[in-house]
C-alpha cells in the first residue's frame, strides 16, 4: 500500500467536541433562584427609582409628571446638595482614615501572643456587632448636653467648668459622629488586617531584624506592603460604609444642629421621606450610588498592586563577547549603629507600651458597652441628676421589669418591647434561613463555574448591589409596597432584607464551596450519585460549618437592621427592636430613658453572645462579605 494524494479517504472520525464552554444545566439551576429574585427585588426597584428620579411627584395630588433631568439639575443647583457633599467628603475622609489607622493598630496588637488575646479578640468585635441604633443611643447619651455621661465624668473629676453641650457646635457634632462611625467600623478593618497579618510568613520579620531594620522601618518596608491588597479592600468597604452612614445620624443628630451633620444620605432621606419630594430624593440618592461606585473603581486602579513583570528572560549582555571583569567583594564596615537604648531596657519598654496598648484597646472597645449596661441598671432619676455623675446611685432591675413585664410603667413604647424582640427574632430566623438556603445553591454554582462568563458576570452584578445604598432601595420599596399593601407586613420586611442578605449569603457560601476539592465531586459522581444527590448528600454536609456561619451572620445583620424596618413598618405588628428603640427618642420623656437603655441592652445581647461564642463564624462572615454596614 502506497501513500497517495487520495489516501485520506479513510473517514477520520472527528473527535467529539468536548463541552468546555458550557456548564451543566444543574449549575444554571443552582444560581437561577438567586438571580431571578435579585432582578425582581433589586433590579426592578432600582429601575423604578431611576424612573422616579426623572419625574416630579406632587405629594398632595399624587400626580406624576415626567421632567427628564430637571430633578438632577435642581439638585445640582441646590446649595444644600453641595454643602452636604462637602460634609460627606469630610466625614468620609475622617472616618476612613480613622477606621484604617485604628484597624491596623488593633490588628498589629491582636496578632501578638499575649495573655487574654482570645478574650480581647472577642471584645474588639462588640462595637461592630452591635446594632447601630444601640450605638447611637449610647453615644448620644455620652455626649448629651445637660446630663450626658461625658459631662458627668467632668463633674466627677472636678472639671465641671469644661462641661458643655457637645452637639451644640455643628462642626464638633460632625466630628463626634465620625468618631462614633470609627468606633463602629474599626473592628471590621482590624479583622481584615489581622487575617492578612496571620498569612504573613513569620520569617519575613526575622529576616528584616537580622538585616538591621528597626520596628518602624519594618512596619513600613515589610508589613505595610504585605497588607496592600487587603488595605484596598478594607478601604473600599469603609468608604462605602461611611458614605452610607445613616442609622447613627438618625439617632444622634438627625442632620443637625442646623444642617451641620446633613450628609448626602441624610439629605436624600429628608427629601424623600420628610418633604416627600420623591423625584429629587431619588436623584440625590442615585448620585450617592454613582459616587460610591466611582470611588470603588478609583481605589481599585490607584491601589491595586502593579502586575509583576512577566517572568521572561531579561536580555543580558552577551557574556562571551565582552571581556568580563568579575566584580570584587567590598569589605563592608562593621555594624556600628549602637542602639540608643540597651536591648534589655528596650525589651522592657516595649513590654510596657504593649501592655498599655492592650489596655487602651480594651477600654476603647468595652468601656462604652459597660457604661450602657450600667445605665440600664440605674434608676431613671439618675439620668437627670444635677450635677450629673457617672456613678449610679443604686443598681436596679426596674428598667428591665418595665420593658419585659410591662410593670410599673405607663410608657406605651416600653410595653412594645417584648413584641418587638419577638418580631426581630422571627424575621431574622425566616430571612436568614431562606437566604442561606438559596445562597447555598448559588454559592456552589458560583464557586465551581467561576470562570464561565455567565457566572462571572452575574457574580459581579451581585457584588455591585453592595455599592447601592439601602436608601436608594427603600424609596421604591416604600412606594411600591404602599400600592401593593405590603407596608407593615412580615413579607415586606423579608423582601427588603433579602436584598442585602441574598448576595451576602451567596458570597459567603461561594467561599465555603471554593475550599472543597473538585475531586470530591468527581468521586461522588463515579460512585454513582446524580448531581442532585451529590449536592445534598455529599457537599452540603461538608460545608455545614459554612452554612451555620452564614445563618448566624445573616441573622445578625437582620437583627441590627434599622432603615428598612423604620420605613416599611408602621405598627407594633411588625416593628423590630431597633425601630422601637428609635421610637423612644421621639417621645423624649425622661422617665422613658430607663426602659430605652434596657431595650438597647437587650438589643445588643445577641450580637455580644455571637461575638463571644461564635466568634469564628462572625469573623468568617466579616472576611468573606463585609456587607454589613
Amino acid at each position: 500500500m502506497t501513500l497517495t494524494a487520495d489516501a485520506p479517504k479513510i473517514d477520520i472520525v472527528a473527535p467529539r467536541r468536548r463541552r468546555v464552554g458550557t456548564a451543566p444545566a444543574f449549575a444554571y439551576l443552582t444560581v437561577a433562584p438567586v438571580l431571578v429574585l435579585m432582578v425582581l427585588i433589586v433590579g426592578i426597584p432600582l429601575l423604578y427609582s431611576l424612573y422616579l428620579s426623572f419625574n416630579s411627584t406632587n405629594p398632595i395630588t399624587k400626580k406624576w409628571i415626567f421632567v427628564g433631568f430637571a430633578n438632577y439639575s435642581r439638585v445640582f443647583q441646590n446649595a444644600d446638595f453641595w454643602a452636604a457633599l462637602g460634609r460627606t467628603a469630610y466625614f468620609s475622609v475622617l472616618a476612613v482614615v480613622g477606621t484604617t489607622v485604628l484597624g491596623i493598630i488593633f490588628a498589629l496588637v491582636l496578632n501578638q501572643r499575649f495573655f487574654g488575646r482570645g478574650l480581647l479578640r472577642s471584645v474588639v468585635l462588640i462595637p461592630w456587632a452591635m446594632a447601630p441604633v444601640s450605638i447611637g443611643v449610647l453615644w448620644s447619651f455620652i455626649y448629651a448636653g445637660n446630663f450626658g455621661l461625658l459631662n458627668g465624668l467632668l463633674h466627677d473629676l472636678g472639671l465641671g467648668s469644661l462641661a458643655t453641650a457637645w452637639f451644640g457646635d455643628g462642626f464638633r457634632a460632625l466630628n463626634l459622629v465620625a468618631i462614633t462611625q470609627i468606633w463602629n467600623q474599626a473592628p471590621l478593618t482590624a479583622l481584615m488586617m489581622l487575617s492578612a497579618l496571620q498569612s504573613m510568613p513569620g520569617n519575613l520579620h526575622r529576616a528584616a531584624i537580622l538585616d538591621g531594620a528597626g520596628p518602624v522601618r519594618r512596619f513600613f518596608s515589610i508589613t505595610l506592603p504585605w497588607l496592600k491588597s487587603s488595605l484596598l479592600f478594607s478601604t473600599i468597604v469603609s468608604t462605602i460604609n461611611a458614605l452610607m452612614t445613616f442609622d447613627i445620624i438618625w439617632i444622634m443628630t438627625r442632620g443637625g444642629p442646623g444642617a451641620a451633620t446633613t450628609t448626602l444620605s441624610w439629605l436624600g432621606y429628608v427629601q424623600s421621606f420628610q418633604f416627600l419630594r420623591f423625584g429629587e430624593g431619588a436623584a440625590t440618592l442615585y448620585l450617592l450610588t454613582m459616587l460610591s461606585l466611582a470611588l470603588a473603581v478609583l481605589y481599585f486602579f490607584v491601589l491595586s498592586p502593579k502586575k509583576p513583570k512577566p517572568a521572561s528572560e531579561i536580555p543580558g549582555k552577551p557574556v562571551a563577547t565582552i571581556p568580563r571583569v568579575r566584580p570584587a567583594m567590598v569589605v563592608i564596615p562593621p555594624w556600628n549603629m549602637r542602639p540608643l537604648i540597651h536591648p534589655t531596657t528596650q525589651r522592657n519598654l516595649t513590654r510596657v507600651f504593649f501592655g498599655i496598648g492592650v489596655l487602651a484597646i480594651f477600654v476603647w472597645s468595652f468601656l462604652p458597652v459597660a457604661i450602657l449596661i450600667m445605665i440600664s441598671l440605674s434608676p431613671p432619676t439618675d439620668l437627670i441628676r444635677t450635677p450629673p455623675s457617672v456613678f449610679p446611685s443604686s443598681l436596679t432591675l426596674e428598667n428591665y421589669r418595665m420593658v419585659l413585664m410591662a410593670e410599673g410603667t405607663t410608657s406605651v413604647q416600653a410595653q412594645r418591647v417584648p413584641v418587638a424582640l419577638f418580631n426581630s427574632f422571627v424575621i431574622g430566623a425566616i430571612v436568614s434561613l431562606i437566604n442561606v438556603a438559596l445562597g447555598t445553591f448559588a454559592g456552589y454554582g458560583f464557586a465551581r463555574y467561576a470562570n464561565r462568563r455567565f457566572f462571572a458576570v452575574s457574580l459581579w452584578a451581585l457584588l455591585l448591589t453592595r455599592m447601592v445604598p439601602a436608601l436608594t432601595l427603600v424609596l421604591p420599596f416604600f412606594i411600591l409596597f404602599r400600592s401593593m399593601g405590603l407596608i407593615d407586613t412580615y413579607l415586606g420586611v423579608i423582601i427588603a432584607y433579602s436584598t442585602i442578605l441574598m448576595p451576602l449569603a451567596a458570597w459567603m457560601m461561594k467561599a465555603s464551596f471554593e475550599n472543597l476539592p473538585a475531586s470530591l465531586e468527581r468521586a461522588a459522581q463515579i460512585d454513582g450519585c446524580s448531581r442532585w444527590t451529590m449536592f445534598i448528600k455529599v457537599l452540603v454536609p461538608i460545608v455545614r460549618p459554612g452554612i451555620i456561619a452564614a445563618v448566624i451572620f445573616c441573622f445578625l445583620v437582620s437583627w441590627n437592621e434599622f432603615l428598612f424596618a423604620m420605613i416599611l413598618t408602621t405598627t407594633m405588628k411588625t416593628q423590630t427592636i431597633p425601630v422601637i428603640i428609635a421610637g423612644f427618642l421621639n417621645q423624649a420623656r425622661f422617665y422613658e430613658y430607663g426602659p430605652m437603655f434596657a431595650a438597647s441592652v437587650l438589643a445588643i445581647l445577641p450580637p455580644i453572645a455571637i461575638a463571644f461564642f461564635f466568634q469564628r463564624y462572625l469573623v468568617q462572615g466579616a472576611l468573606s462579605g463585609a456587607v454589613k454596614g
Partner: protein
C-alpha cells in the same frame, strides 16, 4: 569568620524545655551541620545564636566575646531561612541591597557589592525580577545573596535545601560548599537529612529532643556512633537493632548492624550469622535489600545477586565482627563488646 563557643545553653518556652544544656565549640571557618529529627530544636538553637530568640541561660561567645546580650544585627551573622523569607514586594536587587541600606552605606558601594554577590551566585540576569517570578532554586540563591552581601562572620542556614526537588538539592549543596570554601566563612547548616549533613560538613552535631547526642566528623559519627539514636539516625537504610540474646550476646545489650554489612553467607567467613525467613526482596539498582524475619524482628540485609532466592525461603546472613555495634539496652549508649 568567627569561632563560636556555646556553653550550658538552655532555652525554655514557658514550661517546655526546648534546648537542654548544650555545649558546642565551633572553630573559625568550619562547616558545621546541626542534624536531628524535626522538632528537636535545631531552628531554635539557630535563632538563639542569631539573637532572634533570647536564651534562658548559658553563654554564647563569638571569638571569645560574650554576645548573648547583643541585638541580632550587632552579632554580624546572616541567616538563610527555610522558606527564604525574600521580601515579596522588592526586586531581587532591593532584596540583596536591603541589609546594606539599613547600614546607611553609600549607593555606589551598595551597587558594587550587589554586583559582587550576584556574580558569585550567578543571578545577574534576575536582579530586576520580583521573588514571585523566580523558581525555587533561584529564590534560594537570592536568599544566600542577601545573606553574604554584608560579609557576615557566620552564615547560618536553616534547612535551606528542603524546599528544592531532589536533583536541584544535590546541585545546590555542592554550590554551598564551594561558596563556603571561597569565602572562608564559618557556616552552620541545619538539616534533618543525614546524607546532606554527611556530604557537606566538617563536623556534624547530632541533636535529639534538645540534647546534643554527638559532635564529630561525618565518618566518626557514621562508624563510631555515640549511642543508639545516632546509629539509627545516620545511614540509610537504617541500622538493624537486635536484642543481644537473639544473637548470642548479653541480654542487656542491643546489637546493631548496618544492612550494607549484612550479606548472605553460610557462616564460614562470618562468625556472626542470623537465619530467618526471607520476606521481601527490594531491588535498589546495583544491589538488593532483603527483608528477613528473625525472631519477630525484620532485619534488613543487602546482596548483589538474588539468583536462587525467593520470598518464603529460609536464608542465612552474616556480618564480620568489626561491623557490629553494641548498645546498652537501657541507656542506649554505645558500649564496647565485652562478652
Amino acid at each position: 569568620m568567627s569561632s563560636i563557643n556555646i556553653a550550658g545553653l538552655n532555652k525554655r518556652y514557658g514550661q517546655t524545655h526546648v534546648l537542654k544544656g548544650l555545649d558546642l565549640s565551633i572553630k573559625n571557618g568550619e562547616f558545621i551541620s546541626f542534624l536531628g529529627p524535626s522538632g528537636c530544636g535545631k531552628s531554635t538553637l539557630l535563632f538563639c545564636i542569631a539573637g532572634l530568640e533570647e536564651i534562658s541561660d548559658g553563654s554564647i561567645r563569638f571569638d571569645g566575646r560574650e554576645i548573648s546580650d547583643l541585638g541580632p544585627r550587632e552579632r554580624n551573622i546572616a541567616l538563610v531561612f527555610q522558606d527564604y523569607a525574600l521580601y515579596p514586594h522588592m526586586t531581587v536587587r532591593d532584596n540583596i541591597a536591603f541589609p546594606l541600606r539599613q547600614q546607611k552605606i553609600d549607593a555606589a558601594t551598595i551597587a558594587k557589592q550587589v554586583a559582587w554577590a550576584a556574580d558569585v551566585l550567578g543571578i545577574q540576569a534576575l536582579l530586576d525580577r520580583l521573588p514571585a517570578a523566580l523558581s525555587g532554586g533561584q529564590r534560594q540563591r537570592v536568599a544566600v545573596g542577601r545573606a553574604i552581601v554584608r560579609n557576615p562572620s557566620v552564615l547560618l542556614m536553616d534547612e535551606p535545601l528542603s524546599n528544592l526537588d531532589a536533583s536541584l538539592r544535590v546541585h545546590m549543596r555542592t554550590e554551598i560548599r564551594r561558596l563556603q570554601k571561597e569565602l572562608g566563612i564559618t557556616v552552620i547548616f541545619v538539616t534533618h537529612d543525614q546524607e546532606e549533613a554527611m556530604v557537606l560538613s566538617d563536623r556534624i552535631a547530632v541533636m535529639n529532643n534538645g540534647v546534643l547526642q554527638q559532635f564529630a566528623a561525618p565518618m566518626d559519627v557514621y562508624s563510631r556512633p555515640a549511642n543508639r539514636f545516632v546509629a539509627g539516625f545516620i545511614g540509610s537504610p537504617q541500622m538493624n537493632f537486635l536484642p543481644g540474646d537473639l544473637c548470642g550476646g548479653a541480654a542487656d545489650h542491643v546489637v546493631g548492624v548496618r544492612p550494607h554489612d549484612l550479606k548472605p553467607g553460610n557462616g564460614i567467613a562470618n562468625p556472626f550469622t542470623l537465619s530467618g525467613e526471607l520476606v521481601l526482596v527490594e531491588p535498589a539498582g546495583p544491589f538488593q535489600f532483603l527483608d528477613i524475619a528473625i525472631g519477630g524482628h525484620i532485619v534488613r540485609a543487602t546482596c548483589t545477586d538474588i539468583a536462587g532466592l525467593s520470598p518464603g525461603e529460609t536464608i542465612t546472613v552474616g556480618a564480620s565482627p568489626e561491623a557490629l555495634r553494641y548498645f546498652n539496652a537501657d541507656t542506649g549508649a554505645r558500649v564496647s563488646h565485652s562478652r
